[in-house]
Symmetry: C2
Subunit: 205 residues, 2 copies
């Protein structure tokens, strides 16, 4: 992994939103105000976020929609397909494999793993479920970029360790636990209950 300019996570997340807006926008040019309105932020925020990636747009004209889209995708590393494995073939793994967003956005699931002998060898939405102990060779054979952890909390660290030992440096973790990983591995946690919990704060009488 090469050194990357450190961009704040909230900026990266907003950039992903902007990409979606640009993809659906049919006009040849778009203003920061239009992006901002669709994203639910203000225009100054949009301009500041885009400035992390360089100089775009012209005063009075706005941005060329397709050029901006192509530039951002390239700079976000989203102009090439990324190969993904999913570990955990339960309900959550099944939902993830089925989630159209992944393929639509350039993430190709190349293998699915589980350690339950009753599941191994069976097919799940077109994927043959592979034994967890075949993870390392599969990651090497298929040049996997990203590992998704969709196992119960108690198994998440073990799965992360195996992914890292296999050479994966990008992990998306759906188990509600903080993983310990080396500095050169990037983990993004998606905790399905955290967002409900932050809501609770605002729902108090």
């Amino acid at each position: 992994m090469t050194e990357r300019k450190q961009i704040p996570d909230p900026t990266l997340l907003r950039m992903c939103r902007y990409l979606r807006i640009l993809e659906r926008y049919s006009e040849p040019t778009i203003s920061s105000a239009a992006i901002a309105e669709a994203a639910g932020v203000n225009a100054a925020q949009v301009r500041k976020d885009l400035s992390f990636f360089g100089e775009f747009g012209q005063p009075g004209v706005g941005y060329h929609t397709k050029e901006l889209l192509a530039s951002l995708k390239r700079m976000m590393g989203l102009d090439e397909e990324l190969k993904v494995i999913v570990v955990g073939a339960g309900a959550l793994g099944s939902a993830l494999i089925n989630y159209p967003g992944f393929e639509n956005r350039g993430f190709r699931i190349v293998a699915v793993f589980d350690n339950n002998p009753a599941k191994i060898g069976h097919r799940l939405r077109g994927y043959e479920i592979m034994p967890f102990d075949r993870l390392k060779e599969t990651v090497a054979d298929l040049n996997v970029d990203i590992g998704i952890i969709a196992v119960p909390r108690v198994s998440a660290q073990e799965v992360a360790d195996a992914m890292i030992a296999a050479g994966i440096t990008g992990i998306v973790n759906f188990a509600p636990v903080t993983l310990k990983v080396p500095d050169d591995v990037v983990v993004r946690g998606v905790d399905l209950t955290l967002q409900l919990e932050t809501l609770a704060y605002y729902l108090q009488d």
Copy 2:
């Protein structure tokens, strides 16, 4: 909804992590350093986050684990059960209904809705799937607090509008789209691909 002290979202998210750490901690007292290490942040951050909620702990002693846990739960609005509905009985809805984290953390799913006649009336993991047009009366009857949107992107705004019309002020949206809602409604988006996209930035050669 009453006015709440505005706490930054990243702080709220970290507070939820601290709660988990406290719940699993077996010693009677805990230091900010111990919380920080388990949460993967620094101790100053922990102390700053906790200061949003008041004065806790004693120098040289740390925090009384159970007291801090109870105080934080109360202040986060997590000391009472919250009632949740899920709209969308597809793979994702099914995974969410099955997700043990919800019940474990005080969120009780009280009803599941879909608009597909082939699904209505069938049972999904113990829940009878109800027709979408019964949402309003059900929300009123059962005093629902939170609505979870687990439908495709094209239907998400319509579902949000129906939830809001039914009186729901807290929404967790799993569809990859920014919802338009009134100011008194709080939406938390959980986009399953966003985190993969932010990873891509760091995985570039």
